[in-house]
Amino acid sequence: MTTEINARQNYARVLILWVAVLVGLYAFQEYFS
């Protein structure tokens, strides 16, 4: 059970970071273009 919760938290972290990285890359592209 704890392992499952940890796995879900891990997936949520990946998704949040994924969105943050894409937003960051887009901002990087726009700032320097």
């Binding site: 796995a7 891990n10 890359l25 887009y26 592209q29 320097f32 273009s33």
Partner: protein, 569 residues
Amino acid sequence: MHPIDWTIIAVYLSWIVWDGLRLTKRSHELEGYFLASRSLPWWAVGLSVMATQLSAITMIGTTGQGYEDGMRFLQFYYALPLAMIVLSVTLVPFFHNARVFTAYEFLEQRFDAKTRAFTSLLFLFSRSMSLGVVISAPAVVLAVVLNISVTNTALLIALPTAVYTMFGGVQAVTWTDVKQVVLIVFGLIAAIVVLVLGLPGEVSVPQALRIAGATGRLQTFDFSFDLTNQYTFWSGTIAAFFLFCSYFGTDQSQVQRYLAAKSVSAARSSLMMSAYWKIPLQALVLLVGVFMFLFYLFTPAPMLFNAVHDRELREGPRAAEYGTLEGRFVTANEARRRAGLELADADASGDAARLTAAGSAFAAREAEVRSIRGEALSLVREATGDESYNDVNYVFPTFILTQMPVGLIGLLIAAIFAAAMSTISAEMASLSTATVIDFYRRFAKGYATDRHYLWVSRLATGFWGLFASGVAIWAAELGSLIEVVNRFGSFFYGSILGVFVLAVGFRHTTANGAFLGLLAGMGAVAWAASFTGVAFLWHNVIGAVVVVIVGLTVSAVEGLGRRVSGVGS
């Protein structure tokens, strides 16, 4: 190259073989040899997965792509974290609970022997050919820059790897991968530092990036929906999602890595490492290319990065034409350098109108330099008869050899060797596993001692090592044939994913449904590749979707037939 650099390369090659061989003692039975007794920690598996993907083609090809084209290629990886999550939830627990050695073994448990044998055969065919290319691509480039023969560079890459993989098995592959990926990342960071330090004093890093931005090299998002364009946001998030699910979920060279993890949780965590780090790592590789562009903006750049072709044209019958072109190139380069400095100055001034004008002027000078370089490349194409010739793969090695300090040159060349070896070791091990488990043990000799299977496995690894070396050495002559073979390989990536989707997601799927679906999917992809301009990434979507639709339809018809005959009897 300085003797110190040759020594560093020699020390690296000797050390990595010794390091792999000392793990032989942990590989005395089949599960130990192929799956490290399912005992590896998540972080070692995670780093090994990343090392396998980071091939020498990435080191020399992707940096060259960054130099020529910028960071657009990054979009290709946007779906990777999503694919990792989906695989962690779906296929990873199935594989682990099934206690299989190969992904295809799972298909026999779920469907039948012919589906397993066919998918495994497709894997053996495509992976063995791609293994040859993974060796030959850096071998050809390193042969030019190190001034030794292609045969020697191919053997320098393949033989040490075959030796430690043959004796040390997956233990050796994984633990050498861990060290190799550290060396590769260190090398890339060192290259970035040297490149940044090489910029002129009056141009800061943000100003340099503004210059790169003016040429479109920092573009990482293209929202146009064009099925014929490989690198758009949509192909990177939708089509590449299918490719990554197929590659990480069904390709034995990847599946074998996380089957060696000590638990389902460790296997999932190892995939999450790629989910976190793959995009930043790929961005780092492409940034090396972008900074090389900036470096050569202010430092005299060669017109052609392949020194052999440069020399041939200079000494050949078209030397006068080449000389004139080079004169134009030097003038255009100087104009571009001045335009770059003006752009940096305009950026510092904060004057928006001046910045826009300087940006446009710089883009025009850049287009001129590109056009002259294009003419030079055309001269090489005419001289060599190779119509697809490009020298982007030579940019990074040339930079390393001509601009890096002594010591770092050896380290960076060793990092290119490491990138090649970390990829081919995993591929050799997976080819051997599929050969022995899916064919030899399944069809030839079902009952034998572990010692016997281990002996056969080592022979199989050695065989694939020699086979790949042979393909690599002859790849230059085969040229377009190898390309055709690899294209054929891409025909069934999505289709194999479709079979696994049927296996895991649709419990009513029959063995015939899965097999006929697979054939239909491959046929659909072959049709799309031959008669439409759809970019290859989308072939994965077409293959997977057709397999699932046909597989479910055939299964439904079979089920209906059984029910009808059941009612009738």
